[in-house]
């Protein structure tokens, strides 16, 4: 049953993303990775969500590579019982993407978390603030980036507590 499901979804995805579609990889029966370009991302995602009537987003994973930040939207399609992970790369210097919290309110906290950890700006997000970091966290230091070593993060924590205490 999975085989034609997969083919069906692949057809739909290719049809929706058209020339923004880069690559496709099915790593296990019901998990699919789809890489797309960054341009008019909001419009494509909106159409995909409506077409496959996806209502659940598991989470948004941000990964830091040398030259770019890769975002992964893990969408669970209940109709075909598969997990579609939409991958897209953002330039490292100013990572900006449209927020999808108006289509899927459930993604609000995940976007804030990626903003907290990797510094990705989400346009149109209702309350883009620190989710997990303390208020007086120094601007511009994004802990999950590779160039921020563990010791530096621990030092900020120690300084932070002295400054406040």
């Amino acid at each position: 049953m999975e085989k034609e499901n997969e083919a069906l979804i692949l057809k739909i995805i290719k049809e929706i993303f058209g020339e923004y579609f880069i690559s496709y990889e099915a790593i296990s029966p019901n998990k699919i990775f789809v890489e797309i370009k960054r341009e008019n991302f909001k419009f494509n995602i909106k159409r995909l969500i409506e077409k496959l009537d996806i209502w659940h987003i598991s989470t948004i994973t941000g990964t830091d590579f040398e030259d770019s930040i890769e975002l992964m939207y893990h969408l669970w399609c209940d109709k075909y019982k598969t997990l579609i992970s939409i991958k897209l790369k953002l330039p490292k210097d100013n990572p900006v993407i449209e927020s999808i919290s108006d289509i899927m309110p459930g993604a609000v906290l995940y976007e804030r978390e990626v903003y907290d950890m990797l510094g990705v700006q989400f346009l149109g997000h209702p309350m883009l603030e620190h989710l997990l970091l303390p208020e007086d966290w120094p601007r511009g230091v994004y802990p999950l980036r590779k160039e921020v070593p563990l010791e530096k993060v621990r030092k900020i924590m120690l300084e932070g507590s002295e400054k406040n205490a």
Binding site: I27, S28, N30, K31, F33, W55, H56, I57, S58, T59, T61, T63, D64, M72, H74, D78, K81, L83, S85, M104, P105, G106, A107, V108, L109, Y110, E113, D116, M117, H130, L131, L132, L133, P134, E135, P143, L144, L150, V153, R154, M157, G160, S161, N164, A165
Partner: protein
């Protein structure tokens, strides 16, 4: 009566772990609720990138004290997909049994805490007395009451011997009788009904829109369970049914969890009867081939999501965890609107929050323990600054 603000937390008797809410209340009715997270934050994802695969297993186990086996099962499933190895069938069944025992102990613990929130301490004592039997079973099988260290990449560490099987069956019969009794108590006790029904209602559309997970969404009538949709370990070979209630209030969520205890008992019995023999783990190389893998597990509180990316080295390149409580927080804020002040703990407890789970991402030095961000004096300074910034006066 003008709207006044009650800051609840980060330390508060109703919340066992540090999470902070600012409730805007009008008289006795809650108008709005903003959570502030990050107090039990231990930087497990950043640390995960500096530990070897075996050490990250013990890191992931300590994300949540109550559902620790869900975390190790999810991590180990993801890592096995990375190493692309297939574990022996007996190990799969042992994983299912330990996870279901953990689900029973987590739901019994939760039922006690909910009863304590509404002042029913007697039921709290009874549920926690029966939970001790499950913890003894787990100590017998895995060697520890909570942090089991039963899972390892490539299988399971301890085997379940025959006299353990008989002991498990005896405890399951006793627990089945107790679960029936608790279900009757929850459904018949006039005071529990008065405090639980029509409280913190989450409609089906809101639940789906806000992507709630686990019993919180099953209480609103949405039929979704990772063990059925995305089966892991031996769940595809074990028949069980998903429990849903449609009312969506605190009572529905309680009944979902009580029925799930009964369901877990049936799963354990079925797994004990059909357990294949054979060895329980296989050797695993030190370094996985480069690639990425996703693991999803049905933790007692909902869908647990792991993502590991490896670049072929000994350490994971990226280690992402999304726990069920974080997914339920937007739904919780929606449920808290229009609720009495007296019902805040009940509604917060109805999503069975595990704050330690949720705050697991960043950076506080693990062996120095958490760093308390807001002392009393800072709390006042912070809230004053916070109000001006939000211009809520």
């Amino acid at each position: 009566m003008p709207e006044i603000e009650i800051p609840v937390g980060p330390q508060h008797p109703a919340l066992k772990e540090p999470i902070r809410f600012v409730f805007r209340i009008d008289g006795e009715i809650v108008v709005g609720a903003e959570p502030r997270l990050g107090y039990a934050h231990r930087g497990i994802e950043k640390l995960g990138e500096h530990r070897s695969y075996v050490q990250v297993l013990y890191l992931s186990e300590r994300i949540c004290g109550i559902c620790s086996v869900a975390h190790t099962t999810c991590y180990v499933e993801t890592a096995e997909r990375l190493f692309n190895i297939e574990i022996p069938p007996r190990a799969k069944f042992i994983r299912v049994i330990v996870s279901e025992l953990n689900r029973i102990h987590s739901h019994l613990l939760w039922l006690g805490i909910l009863a304590h929130e509404i002042g029913f301490d007697t039921l709290f004592m009874y549920t926690w007395r029966d939970r001790e039997l499950v913890l003894d079973l787990l100590e017998m099988i895995t060697g520890n009451r909570v942090l089991y260290a039963i899972n390892m990449i490539g299988g399971v560490r301890h085997d379940i011997t025959n006299e353990m099987v008989d002991k498990i069956r005896k405890v399951m019969d006793y627990l089945e009788e107790r679960t029936k009794y608790y279900k009757r108590v929850v459904q018949e006790d006039p005071l529990m009904l008065a405090r639980l029904s029509e409280v913190g209602i989450l409609s089906r559309s809101d639940a789906q829109k806000l992507c709630a997970v686990g019993p919180t969404i099953r209480g609103s009538g949405v039929k979704t369970d990772i063990r059925k949709e995305d089966p892991y370990a031996a769940y595809d070979e074990i028949p069980f049914n998903i429990i849903t209630y449609t009312e969506g209030d605190a009572l529905a969520k309680t009944l979902v969890r009580v029925d799930e205890i009964q369901e877990s008992i049936n799963i354990i019995r079925y797994a004990l009867d059909h357990m294949p023999s054979g060895n329980i783990n296989i050797r695993v190389p030190l370094r996985p081939s480069p690639g990425e893998a996703i693991g999803r597990v049905e933790a007692p509180r909902g869908e647990l999501f792991y993502y590991i990316r490896s670049d072929g080295s000994e350490r994971p390149y990226r280690f992402k965890v999304r726990t069920p409580t974080l997914a339920n927080i937007p739904a919780l804020c929606k449920m808290l609107e229009g609720v009495y002040v007296a019902d805040i703990p009940v509604v917060v407890a109805s999503i069975d929050p595990c704050i330690a789970c949720m705050d697991r991402v960043l950076l506080i030095d693990t062996n120095k323990g958490t760093w308390n961000i807001l002392t009393g004096e800072e709390l006042r300074r912070y809230s004053k600054k916070w109000y001006e910034k939000h211009k809520i006066r």
